[in-house]
């Protein structure tokens, strides 16, 4: 039998790297969040200030508005992706020629760098360069300007996220739908159930685990959206698209207020964990215990 020491030796490099670049940063930022530190302020020392950073955060309008738009963004993006993704998955199950090609094309956005997706949508929607504002003006007489209209900028970030990530939802739901047994559906049709009844009482409960897993993954990814929004709008106009990740990036470094920035980072991490935990407890865990 091999000695366990060899196992630990093989595992060691992984553990060391993750310790220095995952664990240490976490405890460092946690420690800093209870301190006041601005190296370019009158007093550049690190001073313990208890929960002052967190107390200030509760009344920080910039942070609160960022939290608000993030929740709105995640809600609209993930919900739309689920609905569109389900419709696409259903449409894919029917018989038509060239399925493999369409599936390949549909997967394309998934491999693209978020910053490139941002760049593409910037080129699509910037007035005078993009095709979308030009079409909207000639068809509906509507002036789309993501540089001045908060609603337009927010909507475009949601549409961009839908374009980027709906394929993931579609493909996971196709996988779930394909693996369903056909008996319950035939039985329901014999019993005279209509399409809506079949969807709510048979299809949805059966694909629920896949739906929940997809929501879980999309929620976590949407919460940390930074690159593409930074590229597309830079968080503007005003703070209309300043999602939490963008907020950290824009707030912490230019101000060099490291103690306060750490507090923001810790709170964002905490909120992400809580959001995932709530989702897990309310949706996934009860099903597992019941099952």
């Amino acid at each position: 039998m091999q000695s366990n020491r060899l196992g630990w030796i093989l595992l060691a490099p992984t553990l060391v790297i993750l310790f220095f670049f995952g664990v240490v940063p976490f405890f460092y930022v946690l420690w800093l969040s209870f301190h006041q530190w601005n190296p370019f302020a009158a007093d550049p020392n690190v001073i313990f200030n208890g929960a002052d950073n967190f107390r200030a955060l509760v009344f920080d309008n910039g942070f609160l508005s960022s939290l608000g738009v993030t929740i709105a963004f995640v809600f609209f993006a993930v919900l739309s992706e689920l609905v569109i993704g389900y419709a696409l998955a259903q449409a894919f199950l029917k018989d038509f020629p060239g399925k493999a090609i369409f599936r390949t094309i549909h997967t394309l956005p998934l491999i693209m760098a978020p910053i490139i997706v941002g760049s593409i949508w910037k080129l699509m929607t910037t007035p005078s360069i993009g095709i979308i504002p030009s079409l909207l003006r000639s068809w509906f007489g509507y002036d789309l300007n993501i540089g001045t209209s908060a609603v337009a900028a927010f909507t475009v970030t949601v549409v961009m996220d839908i374009w980027h990530w709906t394929p993931l939802v579609t493909l996971t739901l196709i996988a779930a739908l394909v693996s369903l047994p056909s008996d319950p559906f035939e039985q329901a049709q014999i019993d005279g159930a209509n399409k809506r009844q079949i969807f709510w009482h048979i299809t949805l409960p059966m694909i629920m685990p896949a739906v929940l897993a997809t929501v879980f993954i999309r929620l976590m990814d949407a919460l940390r959206t930074v690159d593409e929004v930074l590229m597309l709008t830079g968080g503007g106009p005003g703070s209309a698209t300043r999602y939490l990740g963008v907020h950290i990036f824009k707030e912490v470094f230019p101000r060099t207020n490291y103690g306060y920035g750490s507090a923001i980072s810790i709170i964002v991490l905490y909120l992400t964990i809580v959001a995932c935990w709530l989702l897990y407890v309310s949706l996934i865990a009860p099903r597992n215990t019941k099952g």
Partner: protein, 278 residues
């Protein structure tokens, strides 16, 4: 009736594919237009192709440097995480290590954390703590290779574990009985059998590293600056060079597209972290 529906679904998917492809096509359109034409009414079809932006980008030594940096960092990182992930998976599947399931899940949580949260501590650690004499990890390729491990190493472990686990343990036990060393067993028995899984891991982690922006933007200035950060330098408040920006985007996109054609089937399983079988 049946035929009718078939054509309807075909038409539907043609529309969906058009919506997926058009933004990418538009990126190409902007990249092959001279700057003066950009501000007239946008036109979908190209009347002529103008390659000057591509020539300019190729001749720009700064951008060439960024491209080389991107290549070195993503290749170095992908190779490192694939090797380390492979060894870690061997350890996790062949040994009775105390708390190995907890270790496994702990590595995975490293990938789930939002990267924005770690920008500040990593920046401070890179500038002030992780230094050896005059050498700091900030703005160094080795620093970027190591920091990308935080998201790629968990991914490599996650994707490789079923592969390594699936290789019959009788094979290495038999080899050990014959007196082979651990090194021989790993390199000559396990490695050849795990090759397909290793290839997919290598390719996907390479793309993830190549695509990364946020950490590179924070932790590099010039020496280790990557192509994605170079792209953002062309977006300024005073005046964006749209053609150049589109061209750099195309350059960043091309390797990912080539790779996409190679590992298309594995992408969904990779992105959902195996939670859903794609």
């Amino acid at each position: 009736m049946k035929r009718h529906a078939t054509w309807l679904y075909l038409l539907f998917w043609i529309v969906v594919s058009f919506l997926t492809m058009f933004p990418i096509y538009w990126l190409f359109v902007i990249s092959v237009k001279p700057a003066v034409e950009l501000f007239s009414t946008p036109e979908v079809l190209l009347s002529s192709v103008y390659w000057q932006n591509y020539i300019d980008v190729m001749n720009d030594s700064t951008l060439r440097g960024y491209m080389v940096n991107s290549l070195i960092i993503s290749t170095g990182n992908a190779a490192l995480v694939t090797v380390l992930g492979f060894l870690a998976c061997y350890a996790l599947t062949r040994f009775e290590l105390g708390g190995k399931e907890s270790i496994f899940f702990w590595t995975i949580t490293n990938r789930m954390a939002p990267p924005a949260v770690f920008l500040l501590p990593l920046f401070l650690l890179f500038t002030q703590v992780y230094k050896f004499g005059d050498f700091t990890l900030l703005d160094s390729k080795i620093g970027m290779i190591l920091v990308y491990c935080t998201f790629n190493l968990p991914f490599a472990i996650w994707t490789l574990r079923p592969t390594v686990d699936g290789i019959p343990k009788e094979l290495d036990e038999a080899a050990f009985v014959d007196g082979a060393s651990a090194w021989t067993v790993i390199t000559e028995i396990i490695l050849p059998l795990a090759r397909p899984g290793l290839a997919v891991t290598l390719i996907l982690t390479w793309v993830f590293a190549w695509n990364e922006y946020l950490l590179a933007a924070t932790l590099t200035n010039f020496n280790a600056r990557t192509l994605t950060t170079g792209l953002s330098e062309y977006v300024t408040t005073t005046g964006t060079e749209w053609g150049v920006m589109a061209t750099i985007s195309v350059f960043t996109l091309i390797p990912a597209l080539i790779i996409f054609s190679m590992v298309q089937r594995h992408i969904v399983a990779g992105l959902t972290f195996g939670a859903v079988k794609g």
